[in-house]
Symmetry: D2
Subunit: 328 residues, 4 copies
């Protein structure tokens, strides 16, 4: 089954703009109207900047106008802490540019996701490690006083824990805290296994409904909150329907090598493939995720990288040499 058909049939979201873009370009690698893409190869990272430029791009990509930056860092798996430092700095550079904060901006960090389910716990773990400064400047590290922006932070939990839509909680807080910028950190669902744990997406469009591991129901963006929203996301799972479909596709690729089979393959109705997938996923339909066995250390490593980059980008007083000193 074509991936786009699969995603529709199983109501599976692709959270990374870079993957949505790949899908649209397809094997022919055609341009997508209203969308620009730029790729930058750095030492330990590939930075892909996708811009949705106009209404046509919005229609094609099915997501809001704005900038989506993906930082691919396959070496995150390598367990080399010096490389992790480089990755942290690269992420910080991209964040700093995308946020373009004024000196006295105040920021609310929001860690989305469920702290009780490891693959969904990225957001809360970033919050745990972040330096919070808004409340009392005399509690902040002495040597940094006057060199910090005002940062507050909350991990609001998920609907199943609170009984309240996460977006409702955040909206209420934003109305009282009145930050200049909200930064929402979330665990995402990937469209391919290679991207789990390795593709950090930052965007200036906030978070759309239906995205994230837990499928947030309501958008968290400038429209709903009334202030700018930067989203930071990283895939930690993939829907199991995709892995199942990839298998079918690979087998069909094999079959296609014979003309007789190719004929036969074309006779199969898409319905047959859908039934095969349904059967393989029974009784979970689209509620099954694949995740690496070492998801706990993957979450810990990437939460450190994101919290470290946030510290450097948000606080002028925190240098790239010393950022680790200020992680909680």
């Amino acid at each position: 089954m074509k991936k786009t058909d699969l995603l529709r049939a199983f109501n599976v979201n692709i959270d990374l703009a870079v993957e949505a873009h790949e899908l649209l370009r397809g094997d022919a690698d055609t341009e997508v109207p209203g969308v620009s893409m730029e790729v930058d190869n750095l030492d330990h990272a590939t930075v892909t900047t996708i811009k949705i430029l106009n209404e046509q791009g919005v229609q094609e990509m099915g997501r809001p106008q704005g900038t989506y930056i993906t930082i691919d860092v396959p070496e995150v798996h390598d367990n080399n802490y010096l490389t992790h430092q480089d990755i942290t700095k690269t992420l910080s550079d991209e964040l700093t540019e995308l946020m373009s904060l004024s000196e006295d901006a105040s920021i609310l960090l929001v860690g989305l996701g469920n702290w009780n389910a490891t693959p969904d716990a990225l957001g809360p773990q970033v919050i745990d490690k972040s330096l919070v400064t808004r409340h009392l400047f005399n509690y902040t590290p002495v040597e940094l006083q006057g060199k910090l922006r005002k940062v507050s932070a909350i991990a609001p939990g998920v609907l199943g824990i609170t009984g309240i839509e996460t977006a409702e909680i955040i909206r209420g807080i934003v109305e009282h805290v009145k930050p200049d910028l909200v930064i929402a950190i979330d665990a995402l669902a990937a469209g391919s296994l290679e991207r789990i744990g390795t593709s950090i997406q930052i965007s200036d469009t906030g978070i759309s409904p239906g995205s994230g591991v837990g499928n947030r129901r309501t958008g968290i963006n400038e429209e709903t909150l009334g202030c700018r929203v930067i989203a930071i996301g990283l895939p930690t799972v993939m829907n199991a329907a995709i892995i199942a479909n990839n298998c079918l596709d690979s087998l069909l690729d094999e079959l296609k090598t014979s003309p007789a089979l190719f004929r036969l393959y074309k006779e199969f109705s898409p319905k047959v493939f859908e039934q095969i997938l349904e059967k393989a996923l029974y009784p979970y339909h689209n509620n099954l995720m694949v995740t690496p066995k070492e998801v706990d250390s993957l979450i810990q490593t990437t939460a450190r990288i994101i919290a470290g980059a946030l510290g450097m980008s948000l606080h002028p007083g925190i240098s790239t040499e010393e950022y680790q000193m200020y992680m909680q």
Copy 2:
């Protein structure tokens, strides 16, 4: 030093109305104008209902007009789970009457306090154990459907964790969730050791600024939230200044037995006592608390009792026999 002087000198709060009342009545046990008190002796509990009836009572007691019920349950220390059940039912009875909820009322539970500091973690632990039902009635236990009130719940953390005043967070959420009633659960500071872990206070006045282990700065009450607020509190600590002062008082009681000494005692200026206390508490002044060594099991036991009573009182479908089945 007289206790009232001590509390003023060290800026120490008395959270229990019943203790504030005792102080006012003094050794002479005089009536306090504008305040009524009623005592009810039950099997495993003594229930003391204090009502602040008018402005004069408000002035005398230094807290808002309303009803303050203290349920004294010294046997909570006994580690007898059958007794704990009885205590739970008594608390539930008192809560049900004080809340007088309509059938279709919606309730927001708020667990105040710091989950990282055991003596202040009562509120968050009650939230953890409570059944949340607001979001989707098909997630609630099948056998209870149609027999539950809408309950949402949040533990918003403390200023030092979020950088945001707790009351601001709650106000924001209340504006969106629009509950009929907020129930705020908080760890309190006692005025005497016997009350630690054993005096459950419920009141219909909400929470005043300055109360609680962590000294919440802003009130959480109908005035600030725009809906009724029931407060449930239990002392888990006592300010160390009180224990120090009690020692001085006891020694002075001894000294008073001789007339010569009594004369001398009266010559001491209060300033001397204050200096003695300051020295004994140095370098912590009023930032030192006393707490039992077994504070972890005390918090666990009382959180179970409070969460159990809330389950029974909030949900018509949860019986007094089966409430433990529905604790999370």
Copy 3:
């Protein structure tokens, strides 16, 4: 690819004896020599007792001689707490019989697995909820004194957390505590999705090397510990290779309907299927697991059931009506 070939090629373990037995019986449903099976249908549970009777059975099943009881409880997903109670009692009955404890037996509960990775956290969560009594009888609930067996409990963590083989830790503790019985609770890997969260296996053979979500490396059994070991396991994940292979099988079933295709199908070498799977699982090979999105509530529900059943079975003083009162 045949499931047995798949499991071998990808080095995937089947933890449930009942699934290993099904595989051996195959489509033809033949008897397995040296193995007996009995099925008992109860109200909310199907109890399947497999006995490996002799060396031939050991060879066939690839696991130690002994009794493996699987309690299938599909209604665990139903969120009906009354049903959960029934399931708890059924599990307790089976446990009581399998353990056949003397009145004064002492028991060490061992919660295997990684508390930082939700799908592997079943064991530690059961430990958290269990009543521990060995240390001081005056800390146990008053009303139960004299009606409790001596129970100690530990969640030793995993190799990645401690740097020590779990079996080494347990062996060391057993040598000092000298229990009559060790009960090891572990999250397992299923061979089919339906069994995730619904098949509770108890056995008197302990735990074999290579089983469990985290692939414990060393056996935890009478041979290594020197005392009887009962294992309680429940699948919480399935290796992603199985879901991938199931898809291929379903597609091939479809193809087989045409004689031409069946011929073709037989021409494919197993190597081709293995390559297709490898590609679909790249870069994770056999280190990828599938797990339901709601794995956190699944773990919570089943940990309650197992801890409740243990309480009833281990302590004569804990009745089937009141067991929930004694869960921590």
Copy 4:
């Protein structure tokens, strides 16, 4: 009441050798036979080395022969992270010298205390932040390979959680892991408020029975474990009896200024003071501790310092510039 009498009457332990030594020297500041003391003033720390040299010293000090180093770091309260770095390095220097490890030594870290009670959670929190390397060298950071000693780590919990004496658990593990050195980290009880959070004690004598916040019952030392034991301790609480007694003493100091009163003071029997204290501590006797309100951040800060110093001292490959990169 004299402090030594108080400690005996209330069965209160003084965990810091430097405090026991002060008590013995008394106001007259006499030498203690069999004990040497040396003081070294550094930039942000005062290092006091007490050596118990022979059996006479053992008798006087009531603790085993060996070296007790106290590093006083009052600036730990200052919230200046650069100072915390200096403190970490000082602690690391002292540890390195006291441990005098061979290149290929293997070490077992043991975090004593109760993770559910914040004031007692120092040990478990240090373990959480420490790099564990024993299991598989290919899991250690790539850039450090070949530059790490073998470190394993466990937080065994407390008697109330496991039902097992902590020393039994550790002994069992040591017999299997066979480390060259055990390092036990524990929260202590201070004899004076100034030392809470600020006096780090390291000693080569292990841990004596009765010490620590939770009063470990059995010693954890070379005699019980069969290998060298370094203890790292930091007071996080003080017994409330001491604060009560300090008040009495201060008041008596005031009274002594008049000759008439001094006469009277001498007439009081010690029994009277004991009764006053008993009354002030009722119903907790010696089971009441005082602890700063900000005990959570105090524990977090000092756990970082201790884990950081351990990382530097244990692993030749971890530099004083980069140690924070390797904290978990």
